[in-house]
Symmetry: C2
Subunit: 339 residues, 2 copies
Amino acid sequence: MKNNLLIRAAHGEKVERTPVWMMRQAGRYLPEYRAIRKDIPFLELCKTVDLAVEVSLQPYRLLDVDAVIMFSDILIPVEAMGQEVQLTEKKGPELPSPIRTREQIDQLIVPDPTEKTGFVMEIIRTLRRELDGAVPLIGFAGAPWTLAAYMIEGGGSKSYGYVKQMMFKEPQNFHALLDKIADAIILYLNAQIEAGAQIIQLFDSWAGELSRKDYAEFALPYQQKIFAALKRKDTPTIMYINNSDHFLEQMATCGADVLSLDWRTDLQEARRRVGDQFTLQGNLDPCILLSTPEIIRAKTRAILAAGGGHQHILNLGHGILPMTPVENARAFIETAKGV
Amino acid sequence: MKNNLLIRAAHGEKVERTPVWMMRQAGRYLPEYRAIRKDIPFLELCKTVDLAVEVSLQPYRLLDVDAVIMFSDILIPVEAMGQEVQLTEKKGPELPSPIRTREQIDQLIVPDPTEKTGFVMEIIRTLRRELDGAVPLIGFAGAPWTLAAYMIEGGGSKSYGYVKQMMFKEPQNFHALLDKIADAIILYLNAQIEAGAQIIQLFDSWAGELSRKDYAEFALPYQQKIFAALKRKDTPTIMYINNSDHFLEQMATCGADVLSLDWRTDLQEARRRVGDQFTLQGNLDPCILLSTPEIIRAKTRAILAAGGGHQHILNLGHGILPMTPVENARAFIETAKGV
């Protein structure tokens, strides 16, 4: 591999400089992405191999990031499990038949990922060919708590009332759902590794809504189950949770090599709390990319300093926002590269 | 006062039992509230003294809570400052002309609260007469960061992109806005105390979106300014922030007597972190009220135990959800009372 900085940093090896990529780097802030997206619905774009490959590569070509992440959506395996998913980027995901009963849980299947989501594996294989070892390729999936939240709420949520209602009122049913999702995600991620994904990131984006106790009971065990079951080929793993500061020590037991943090946690403080065995990823507030290149450079340098140049992957604390000017994203990337 | 448990607990005095009330206790989960609300728009209800008094008293009459909070909305003073506010409970607040420029900031006024929001003071005076010393009356306001977020976003937000853009890109303009809001809120809360509010709660509901550094620069100083300027008559003060675990020690310097916490923070751990000089309020996940009375009682008892029966006001970690069954809210209240 020509640029394996991210792999080495994830494994805790010494690197010449801190590697950098951005969550949702293949997305709406890029005019080149919008040009493709205007002619094709989001879900169809996820399933059209050549176009998904193209938009995955855009941030690498345009911004020279240190890794490519396959273009996809965390709800792709949910659809494969048998629940209808509608994805329009503007309105967010909509699942018109939300899961509310044990019967609905039992009807979900644990799909063969090469059969039901073969397009994802084809995207990965094609990206590996196209990249030809230039930078590593990141595969990913959503974690059970977050996917269950979408499946039960029927979309995004502010209060998480329905998913937490099942969690508190019918914990056995909820565990059955979480376990089924975990089984599906294990197969899905192992198929991604088999197809050529060189790093795996697990997104439990909304687990930060949970108390420590509820995180320990309903989210962490399924993250652990997934990481323990991955058939890794020297494949580093990353755990991302938005809003994880209150259970960071617990998160550190999830089994991932890299802990991806939002801007609420100071990286030096995180290092003190979780010890030396992890690489930390993050953690610029993506809203800082809405300011100016000068401000972005200063705030990014502060994060690079807090990361200490070792066991650190520079990233945002959450996905890049669609309203971000491209030159601001470039200022972020270039600062990591010392340009 | 017949039942002054909440006042005494807020002052750190010994109490016979832990007092209890619920954020948003006058609200849509009550059929009696919905019966009044169906004939009148939300904002009009806030401004119609006899009806606002009636819905404020409903949770006291129906559930026997230990305090009454005046029925109102944190955006009432924003409208008085000169920005149009539309409030429909279902869609959430909408501010059709969001603040984006210095000129707009300069055009906002610091209103005389008795002139522009006299109805709020009249609601307070009437409630005091009606209550006749039965339980204390809570007045409240939103804090500058949270109000600025609504004013700049033009409503609720998921990413807080616009407010944080001004915060990071034009910090001087943002400070000018925050300071003007603080001045308005100081007058507003002092008018409430003058009218008869016996406890004051300040809501910085969305300050948890900020990193420690940004909280210290853009939210905390304005909370401190407000608490320092209140003309208290033995009036206890409560600071509520959703998602405050990552800056709890900083929050403890805001100047309030009571720190109101969400469910992410364990009360015993919070006590260890902030010391003995504060009363803690909270912190049941409001989604637990969507389970069953039996589960609610068990989880509420655990919080009462963590609170230790001293310097603790039982409450939810966030407002009660509209879909909450009344008997579940009752189970929560009754558990505090040992019924």
